[in-house]
């Protein structure tokens, strides 16, 4: 996708006149100008309908030979179409180069990367023809090469957005709760105050002395209660912020991975462990003998025709393998040497005598 030079963009000086059909707003109150990001030539919606309803057509502007489609038209967000175009381009570049700072080893690398992206964007927006083509090629190449990574980053970004959105919502909800709570408390306080006052009045009416003091006591109690409530709220708030901070950091950790220059080593998932090996990597390939065809023994020959063995699925090869293994297993194990060497500590023997199996474990390790 290559675009015409920006200099060809018209400025809608006459906001009220369609440059194609010359209709003016005065005649059509609902006139709406649309552009197509192919060439950013604006025209009114009537013209668009008229020209492109029957399928793709050439841009009606003189000298513009782009083929436009109905589908590509939209209303411009910015009045200045060159800004509109730049924003489009930036959006597109940002969608492709969507690394985050966490992806880089150092801040410097990240800055270099941003610089590179910015240069590229600038070339696209306002470079010469050759520059633009080169930048376009780079962009496309990068996009093609890193499709998966881009997609992942995009998703991660989306997730992070989603999380922050949720967090915001939660915070709003919490704030609302707090407000409701505060209201309720104020209400209660008011009620309390009224009750106190009544009590005070009652005590006065009954002519008891120290009523004022009692009233003060009640007030003190109330203040105390308020203090408690405030403390509880503070604790709760602290917990909440801690939780949200944790959420934020985890969200930040989620965003990430990928590789350009200076990109951090991708946090590699642990190397695939492969299927579980119950034998702990023991090698079962014999090193002294080969189990080859033609290993047989008269004693097993006679069973080969025996339905009792054959029907049940008895595997004669298994027997052969096992017999061969036993014939050669341990042929090179020299017990005298190994056990003596293992014990080289004659103290080790004493230990094995007195400490039993644990000591034997030691000895095995030495072996």
């Amino acid at each position: 996708m290559s675009r015409k030079p920006a200099s060809a963009l018209p400025t809608i000086s006459t906001e009220d006149m369609c440059p194609v059909c010359k209709t003016i707003r005065y005649l059509n109150k609902d006139m709406e100008f649309l552009i197509n990001p192919e060439c950013y030539h604006s025209m009114c919606s009537n013209c668009v309908n008229r020209l492109f309803n029957d399928g793709p057509n050439q841009c009606p502007y003189a000298g513009c030979h782009r083929t436009l489609r109905r589908r590509g038209f939209r209303s411009a967000f910015f009045g200045d179409l060159s800004v509109e175009r730049e924003v489009d381009i930036r959006r597109r570049v940002a969608a492709v180069f969507n690394q985050a700072e966490d992806d880089f080893e150092t801040l410097r690398d990240f800055n270099n990367y941003l610089q590179m992206v910015e240069d590229l964007t600038f070339d696209l927006v306002s470079g010469s023809d050759a520059e633009r083509r080169a930048a376009e090629a780079t962009l496309q190449q990068w996009e093609a090469e890193h499709k998966a990574d881009i997609e992942r980053n995009r998703r991660a970004g989306k997730e992070a957005d989603e999380q922050s959105r949720r967090r915001l919502a939660a915070e709003r909800e919490a704030a609302r709760q707090r407000r409701v709570e505060a209201l309720r408390e104020a209400e209660e306080e008011k009620l309390e105050r009224v009750r106190n006052r009544e009590a005070e009045l009652d005590s006065l009416a009954q002519g008891q002395t120290g009523g004022v003091g009692g009233g003060g006591g009640a007030q003190r109690v109330q203040l105390k209660r308020r203090g408690h409530a405030a403390a509880a709220r503070a604790v709760e708030a602290a917990v909440n912020t801690a939780a949200s901070a944790a959420a934020a950091s985890s969200a930040a950790a989620d965003v990430g991975r990928l590789s350009i220059r200076g990109l951090k080593e991708k946090k590699k998932p642990p190397p695939p462990e492969g299927p579980y090996d119950p034998f702990g990597g023991m090698d079962f390939v014999p090193s002294r003998y080969k189990v080859h065809e033609g290993l047989t023994h008269p004693a097993i020959e006679k069973y080969k025709g025996d339905p009792g063995h054959v029907t049940g699925g008895y595997n004669f090869d298994e027997y052969t393998t096992r017999a061969m293994f036993e014939a050669f297993a341990g042929l090179g194990v020299f017990i005298e040497d190994e056990k003596e060497a293992g014990i080289g500590l004659s103290a080790g023997e004493v230990a094995s005598m007195s400490a039993g199996i644990a000591a034997v474990g030691d000895r095995m390790e030495v072996d």
Binding site: L295, I300, E326, A327, G332, V333, I335, E336
Partner: protein
């Protein structure tokens, strides 16, 4: 390291029950010393405490002369014990033959029996009972489950309790290592390999196998071969006793790797196409695993094992049943044994009953009188012994050991405290 060897090193047979000859004799010596000390103490304490400890005196009743002699008897020495164990192993094999058990069962039982008496003295537990127990447990370990009543009948006894009483004891003595690796199937493997060579006469193979199997059925079981050598080495030694040429052929065939620049051109048999073609980078490894140095070492080991086996060739079966021999060598030892056996442990049924009683008493006397509580405190020291439920049996032993803590390690169980 050869993968086969690595796998063999994982077995309990290698890890728990393989010893060099010096180690083995040291252990036997130690067991013997510990048993002497304990039995001496028990015999000494018997006349005094005759009325106080009921189970002890009960256990002692079948052994009047041991109790009545105040002076200590002459104890068996470790070599004498070993000889008795060997004799009873041959008895065990005969018993196995009598019960028509398979070779594996007999071999397993024999290995169990010998292992048990490495860390337990023959003076402590009765070998005649234990060999039956070993046979019964060997049946189970090899997956042939006979009913205890049938089993008892086979041996002309009438009380299954006698066998069951020793079973857990045996397991403990084996340190619960119940898998014994035998050379029988290995022999099959070796013969398969030999039979696949082009220039070997089948008749010769058959004869060698029969003879080697006969050797395997007796010689390694009645010697310490299972402690000192791996099954494949034992198998090779037996094969070598049967037909030296075949065994050597198999060894040279196996350890055929020639270090490229150095070694002389030992003949490489025609059948080994594959392994030799593999290229240089692993050459050093290969030289270690199947090179000539390894070959010589293996040959040396097999030769040593062969010597050991040749001391007890199957023809010696008669030797162990020969009345003259028994009268000359074994009977004196047994007489000696009768005098010096452990009064508390000898009767397995009584022993087990006493242990159960004690265990029951322990659980009853949670809030008992001070005496009991003192007793209990003593037990609590060893509460880890309760892992297998049967915590008390070791207790008398332990108390004694604790009492003379200074005397130290000689007294300790060869395999240490309870699991």
């Amino acid at each position: 390291m050869a993968t086969e060897d690595a796998r063999y090193r994982q077995t309990s047979q290698f890890q728990l029950w393989s010893f060099s000859p010096t180690q083995l004799s040291a252990m036997r010596e130690k067991t013997n010393t510990a048993a002497r000390t304990r039995i001496a103490e028990r015999l000494a304490s018997l006349p005094n405490s005759n009325n106080t400890s009921a189970p002890t005196s009960n256990a002692n009743t079948p052994d009047p002369d041991g109790a009545s002699t105040p002076a200590l008897p002459v104890f068996l020495t470790a070599p004498e014990e070993a000889q008795l164990v060997t004799f009873f192993t041959s008895e065990l094999l005969r018993a196995g033959d009598h019960a028509e058990m398979t070779d594996e069962i007999k071999a397993t039982a024999a290995a169990f029996f010998r292992r048990f008496y490495v860390t337990n003295s023959i003076m402590t537990y009765p070998p005649q009972e234990m060999l039956i127990v070993a046979l019964f447990f060997g049946c189970k370990a090899e997956g042939s489950f006979v009913s205890i009543t049938d089993f008892v009948k086979t041996f002309g006894r009438d009380n299954p309790e006698e066998i069951l009483a020793g079973e857990f004891l045996l397991c403990q003595g084996l340190r619960f290592a119940i898998d014994v690796k035998h050379p029988f199937r290995a022999l099959r493997g070796a013969l398969m390999e030999l039979a696949s060579l082009p220039d070997i006469d089948r008749a010769r193979l058959g004869a060698a196998e029969t003879r080697a199997r006969e050797i395997l059925r007796f010689s390694p079981l009645i010697t310490d071969a299972y402690f000192h050598y791996t099954p494949s080495q034992i198998m090779m030694a037996a094969l070598s006793l049967a037909d030296r040429g075949l065994a050597e052929r198999l060894i040279t065939q196996t350890f055929h790797h020639i270090a490229p620049p150095t070694d002389s051109g030992a003949d490489t048999p025609a059948a080994d196409g594959g392994p030799l073609k593999e290229s240089a980078p692993r050459s050093e490894d290969k030289a270690q695993i199947i090179g000539s140095v390894a070959r010589d070492k293996v040959l040396g080991t097999i030769e040593a094992c062969r010597d050991l086996l040749s001391r007890e060739l199957p023809e010696r079966r008669e030797h162990w049943t020969n009345r003259a021999v028994i009268k000359a060598q074994i009977t004196p030892l047994r007489k000696k044994l009768n005098k010096c056996r452990d009064p508390e442990r000898w009767n397995l049924v009584e022993l087990q009953r006493a242990r159960r009683e004690q265990a029951a008493k322990k659980s009853d006397s949670e809030d008992g009188d001070p005496d009991d509580r003192a007793d209990k405190a003593n037990n609590d020291n060893n509460s880890d012994a309760a892992v297998f439920g049967d915590a008390l049996p070791r207790d008398p032993k332990r108390r004694r050991v604790l009492g003379e803590g200074q005397k130290g390690k000689g007294l300790d169980d060869p395999f240490g405290g309870p699991l």
